[in-house]
Amino acid sequence: MQLHRVPFSDKKSFSNVIALCPNLRRLSLHDCDWHWDDDAAAEAIASLKQLQELRLQCADAVSAERNPFAATVKRLKELPAMKKLTIFSRLDPASVEAFVAYLNEHMGCRRLTKIKISTGLLASAGGQEVLHAVAKHPTLQKLTIVRPDGMGEPLRKPQCVLLGQAIFNNHSLRALHLRRCGLWTDSLSALVPPSTCHNLARLKLDGNSLGYLSGEMPPGSVPNPPFSTLQRGDN
C-alpha cells in the first residue's frame, strides 16, 4: 500500500484502513497530511506482523516542527518480518534513541537487510549513533543514504569516517549507496575504510560533487593540504 500525499479524513481513518489489511507486506507513507493520531497509527502499523517493507517519509521542514513517526519508530521491534526499512525524516532525540535501540536489538530485526535513511535523520541529535548501530548489525546488506530534495543537510566528513569504519567492520554489508548526499572530494577521502574491505561489492556515489574540494578546507592547507588530513576527514 502506498499512501503518497494522502489527506486523512479524520484521525482514525489511517488506522481503520490498516485494520482492513492485516496481511500487508509493503507500506509506504510519503508526505501525507499527518492528520492522524500518532499512537493509533503506530498501533495499527505494529499490528502488521507480515510487513516486510516500510517507508516513512516526511519533509524535513515538517518533521522539524512535528515528528509524525515518533510513536511508530518506538514500535518497530514489533515487526518481526521487516526486511527493508526506509526513514526519510528528521527524528527527535527520543525517536533516534529508539531507532538505534531497534537496530542494536538484533533479534528484533533479524530479517532486516536494507536500510534507507536521509541525511536529515543523521543530522538529528544522536544521528551518528545510527551509523554505529549500522556498523554492528549482523544481517544488514545494503545501506542507502540520500539527501532530501532541495538543499538539505549534506553528509559531513565525520559521518563519512564512520561509514568507512562501518563498511570495514560490518562484514554482511555488500552495498553502500550515497546518492545526492553533497559529497565532495574531501568527504570521499574520509569514506576510505581503514583497511581492505572484502565484503563491499556495490558502491553508488551518484549526484554528488566528487570532482571538487569542499569549501571546508582549513586556511593553512591552501594550496596543497596533505592527503592524510583529507583522509582522516578532520579538516
Binding site: H177, S189, L200, L203, D206, G211
Partner: protein, 221 residues
C-alpha cells in the same frame, strides 16, 4: 589579495582533480571485490577520468561488472582511457551525456570486443553523428549478450538509425532500445519514419522507447 601575495612564491599548484584521483585510488585499493561503481553526475572531467582509469588498472577491479559514469564531462580522451582499463567481465556500462563524439565510439568499439558478456550499454545524450552510429552498429552486430541499449545520439539522422536498426535486428536477446527524440540532448534529427522502421526491425521480444517520459513504464529485465 592573499592569492596575489602567494602567487610569486608558488612552486606547486594542485587542483581538486588530483585529490579526487588520490581519494578514489585509495578507496579502490581497499575494495578488491567491487562489482558495481556508480559515479554519475559528479562534475568529473577528462583528467579525473584518466586518473580513475589508472586506478582501475593499478588495482585490477577484476570483478567490476557495472560502471555508471553518466552526466560527467569526461569526453573522448577520458572515455578512451576508461575503456582500456575495464575488465573482461563487464556487463553494464552507462555513459549518458559524457560529451562522447564519434572518436569516443571508435575507442568504445575496441572495448566491446573485449566484453563478451556486456548486456547493458547507455550512450544517450552524446553528440555522436551518423559516422559514430555506423561504428557502433558494426560493434554490436550479432551480439548475443546485448539486452538493453540507449542510442539517443543527438547528432544522428535517419541514416544512422537505419544502420543501427539493421545491427540491432541481429541481436537475439535484445529487450529494450532507448531512442529519445524529444527533450534535452535528444536525437531531434531523427524522423518518425526512421523510428517506425527501427521498431519494425527489432527482434521479437524487444521494445523501443522514444519518449523519455514513458520509458519508466517499461518493465526492467
Amino acid at each position: 589579495m592573499i592569492i596575489n601575495a602567494l602567487l610569486p612564491s608558488l612552486l606547486t599548484l594542485t587542483l581538486a582533480g588530483s585529490y579526487f584521483n588520490e581519494a578514489m585510488d585509495l578507496l579502490l585499493s581497499r575494495l578488491p571485490n567491487l562489482e558495481a561503481l556508480h559515479l554519475g553526475n559528479n562534475q568529473l572531467d577528462g583528467k579525473q577520468a584518466e586518473g580513475l582509469a589508472a586506478s582501475f588498472l593499478r588495482h585490477k577491479v577484476a570483478k567490476l561488472e557495472n560502471l555508471t559514469l553518466g552526466s560527467n564531462d569526461i569526453g573522448d580522451a577520458g572515455l578512451a582511457c576508461i575503456v582500456k582499463a575495464l575488465p573482461p567481465c563487464l556487463k553494464q556500462l552507462y555513459l549518458h551525456g559524457i560529451d562522447c563524439t564519434d572518436s569516443g565510439v571508435a575507442a568504445l568499439r575496441e572495448g566491446l570486443d573485449r566484453w563478451p558478456t556486456l548486456w547493458g550499454l547507455g550512450l544517450n545524450g552524446n553528440p555522436i553523428t551518423d559516422s559514430g552510429a555506423r561504428t557502433l552498429a558494426r560493434a554490436i552486430r550479432g551480439r548475443m549478450s546485448l539486452r538493453d541499449i540507449g542510442i539517443t545520439l543527438s547528432e544522428m539522422t535517419d541514416a544512422g538509425v537505419a544502420r543501427l536498426a539493421t545491427a540491432l535486428a541481429t541481436c537475439p536477446n535484445l529487450r529494450y532500445v532507448y531512442l529519445y527524440t524529444s527533450g534535452f540532448k535528444a536525437a531531434q534529427k531523427v524522423t518518425d519514419e526512421a523510428k517506425q522502421k527501427l521498431r519494425e526491425n527489432l527482434p521479437i521480444y524487444a521494445t523501443a522507447a522514444f519518449d523519455h517520459r514513458l520509458s519508466r513504464y517499461l518493465k526492467r529485465p
